[in-house]
């Protein structure tokens, strides 16, 4: 059983929802990114996403965009993300997920990337600009190395589309909470619940909700609808705005508590 499947099974047996925390390779710099990621695990994160900063982050709002610009200047990128996963791997049994836009891994070559990710200890990959139509070669290359390809779904996804996602998704499905970008602050989309119901009919894979999980209240609401929540902007914002790593860990703790209690 994969680390991801085991993590969700354990949580389920304890009647808990998952809290997934996002850290970024090279943010705030390549000396402190590991400490920040570890602090999220200590705060109660069940799974950890390591973001690869990208020059053109289409799905990200202003906070993650700015973090990415700083991370790239500090030497972040796919190479650093793989180093970070390798450094974290011996220190945690939590699933480690790499979140990257298509082009950095593609530039390395999909097979070479899958091999390097497996060697570093990556359990799953989230590629926000990869549609299920284009996912097959990625899914195959990653599966050959024991890595899950985690696809995204949205409140606007039709049942037909969800079936397409379900046919290729492994690990879990990443539901965005809104038609929007990361850091959106408009509340959960009114069609989200219906889309999640449709997902459950399409697939046994857990559903985790991300984008706009900005407060413990929002985390609780979202976690109640699904199998877990992801937080990114809320965690990195205190570091971006006031270099406050403690506040980031404090936010992680509050969000974890809210998600776990939902």
């Amino acid at each position: 059983m994969s680390r991801i499947a085991r993590a969700f099974k354990d949580l389920r047996s304890r009647g808990r929802k998952a809290f997934v925390a996002y850290a970024m390779a090279g943010f705030p710099d390549t000396r402190q990114d590991e400490a920040l990621a570890l602090s999220f695990l200590r705060a109660g994160a069940d799974l950890l996403e390591i973001g690869v900063p990208f020059s053109d982050p289409l799905a990200d709002g202003p906070v993650i965009q700015r973090c990415g610009e700083l991370a790239l200047k500090a030497g972040g990128g796919l190479k650093r993300a793989l180093e970070l996963v390798a450094a974290l791997r011996p220190k945690t049994q939590a699933p480690l997920l790499l979140m990257s836009y298509c082009n950095p891994p593609l530039s390395m070559g999909i097979s070479a990337f899958a091999a390097a990710a497996a060697k570093a200890g990556v359990d799953g990959c989230i590629i926000p600009d990869l549609s299920p139509e284009e996912a097959e070669p990625w899914g195959k290359a990653l599966a050959a190395k024991g890595i899950s390809l985690i696809l995204l779904a949205a409140p606007t996804s039709t049942p037909k589309r969800l079936a397409k996602v379900a046919a290729q998704a492994s690990g879990f499905v990443y539901f965005v909470s809104v038609a929007g970008v990361t850091g959106a602050n408009q509340g959960l989309d009114q069609h989200l619940e219906a889309a999640l119901t449709a997902w459950r009919k399409a697939s046994p894979a857990p559903a985790v909700i991300g984008f706009g999980i900005s407060t413990p209240k929002r985390a609780r609401q979202a976690a109640a609808l699904a199998d877990g929540v992801v937080a990114a902007t809320a965690l990195l914002k205190p570091v971006l705005e006031s270099s406050d790593l403690h506040a980031a860990a404090g936010m992680a703790k509050a969000l974890a508590k809210a998600a776990h209690g939902a």
């Binding site: 990208f54 020059s55 053109d56 982050p57 289409l58 799905a59 990200d60 709002g61 202003p62 965009q65 610009e69 790239l72 990128g77 796919l78 190479k79 836009y101 298509c102 082009n103 950095p104 891994p105 593609l106 530039s107 390395m108 600009d129 549609s131 949205a154 606007t156 996804s157 039709t158 589309r161 809104v178 038609a179 929007g180 970008v181 959106a184």
Partner: protein, 381 residues
Amino acid sequence: MPAVEELRDAWLASRTDKGFRAELAHVLKTYAGRPSPLTFASGLTRACGGARVFLKREDLMHTGSHKINNALGQILLAKRMGKTRIIAETGAGQHGVATATVCARYGLKCEIYMGEEDTRRQALNVFRMRLLGAQVHSVQSGTRTLKDAMNEAIRDWISNVRDTHYLIGSAAGFHPFPSMVRDFQSVIGTEARAQMLSQAGGLPASVVACVNGGSNAIGIFSGFLADRKVALLGVEAAGDGLKTGRHAATLTLGRPGVLHGAYSYVLQDAGGQISETHSISAGLDYPGVGPEHAWLKDSGRACYTTATDQEAVEAFQSLARLDGIIPALESAHAVSAAMKLAATLKPRQSVLVCLSGRGDKDVNTVEDRLAAAHPKRAGRA
């Protein structure tokens, strides 16, 4: 994705819908001013001393460039899909102006994303868009040029997908945009081919167009793809020079990658991060290129060359003086390459250039550049 599928279906349906095609042909004729003329560039031809040079005059279209062809096509689709709000990205501002124009004409809300750097370089077009009732967002992220404007427009579309149509102006981006934009621009090639036969007495030896996203080029090339003897030449922006790293020559120096949902050539670093670009033309400043151009390059059907900022400015001046036409700086890249090519050919041969836009928007840029090069001659062009 449902919105992309909806758009794809609407576009595919429109291709065979006689009512749609008749309506588009009607507005292209009565509103945009089609067909655009074919002009024999007698001055350039004499100066080059080789092949006859013909210009396909997209600069004479309403709003000043070929961009209106695609904007009209897509606005009719948006109306059919029941969208109430239009967004677009723009580099030089020509596509933004075309989009703002069709939105004014059809009564749709219009918001344009433009890199902060480009709003400065193309201030006249920003004002034109505002006059037309559009809201212009100055994009401050990333390199503050076209690709960042496109990022921001995509983010807007993701966030407002239910009521908004994203009117992409280039033959780039995700499917169906590259194919759909080519379709709407193919009117250039269809007209130009017939005009060459009737006015020039035969097909050209070569068709030359500037390429960045590549919408005017794919539009004119599409008319000649089946004519295997007609060479197709795309001209990319070499900026300060290919060796300086300050250019936008994606097909010439890029490698395959994914940008804005299209797998094509991309200017990128070793780690797959998208590169910064440079061109004197705000409209030739994108680090990607339409995927059909990548295919034309790889298949050998088209060739791609480059022109530097300096060469474009020289061609800009030449066409103004020799034929009384001030071209857009984008189109001046094509003029530059066409002049070099024409000089190597025989007088019985001809070269067809897509003059994609007019240069009013660029006169300040050229004036500044000439003043910097010759401080004492400032104002004398």
